[in-house]
Subunit: 181 residues, 2 copies
């Protein structure tokens, strides 16, 4: 049986630069009503770039919401209406200083389905060329490379914890094992 919830009303609580928040009243399958707190977000795109030595490019940056630095694949927010693949290519250039001649879509990952509309579009890239890193003046990011096999080890050891980055590393690892990228 398909499950559903029907929107009865929606009240906007906050409209910010990154997120919008609403509190909605919904009708459940049993006819009762409940409320849903919803974070609305335009989504993001990320790219795991593999060089000819089987190394991936990662970035280290401070994440204020967690109060610490995280290791991540290059990624960024979508502009409203922006094609995720355009965004992935832009972030790879701006954050990591790379262009790629070969891309493969890895999939769409929904990070926080319980209360957040965000979708992150993930891509793998190879056949890389260096271009010029171009960060915003207020963006502070350290770029480095790591063997893909070491990144898999660090995921399993709990040293890489960013969800989209874990997904991308293990997706690419599984594809490579199957000879599919």
């Amino acid at each position: 049986m398909a499950h559903f919830e029907k929107q009865l009303s929606s009240e906007e609580i906050f409209a910010g630069r990154v997120i919008r928040v609403t509190v909605d009243k919904v009708e459940l399958e049993n006819g009762r009503t409940s409320t849903r707190e919803v974070v609305h977000h335009h989504g993001g795109a990320g790219v795991i770039a593999l060089n000819d030595r089987d190394e991936i490019t990662l970035v280290r940056q401070f994440r204020y919401a967690l109060g610490k630095e995280l290791i991540e694949i290059p990624a960024g927010k979508l502009e409203p209406g922006e094609d995720p693949f355009d965004s992935a290519q832009r972030e790879l250039g701006e954050e990591a200083g790379l262009t790629a001649r070969t891309y493969r879509k890895l999939g769409e990952t929904i990070p926080t389905c319980g209360y957040d509309s965000e979708i992150i579009y993930l891509y793998a890239a190879k056949d890389l060329d260096a271009t010029k890193q171009h960060l915003d003046p207020d963006e502070f990011v350290s770029v480095f490379t790591m063997p893909l096999s070491e990144a898999v080890d660090k995921v399993l050891a709990g040293e890489i914890t960013d969800g989209k980055t874990i997904n991308a590393i293990l997706m690419l690892h599984t594809l490579r094992e199957r000879g599919e990228f």
Copy 2:
């Protein structure tokens, strides 16, 4: 070099049942100030349970923020101060009707590091016994099993899109390939 952002002030915008939202003023590395929209969340716990036939237990439920059903591992929100492992065991029982004699921590995954404090604690479980599913009256969830290998295929085919579920499936798959679980 370590990156950082220093909190200058924090304004609470919304305090709900699931999330709290603040808009904070921060000082950046270059001395300039910026704002950070932050979703505060107590975190969650999820568990991927593997039976003796190499099948995992999954749940299908409607996710209002996305407007569709998703396939997920059993998971739930932490109560404030709750031990994530207690929560994982509770959710496995309540949602999937299972207890497990063997657990392994898979790691902590940060789903939405750009603006959300949420951490999801992931566990793998095996040596399962059936108990009684015990859903809340307003919780509608369909439980089913799927071979782990088929779940990996569905991740790579884009048919399983929930981030924590992709994390857990590929972590368990990689551990099993290494003979570590």
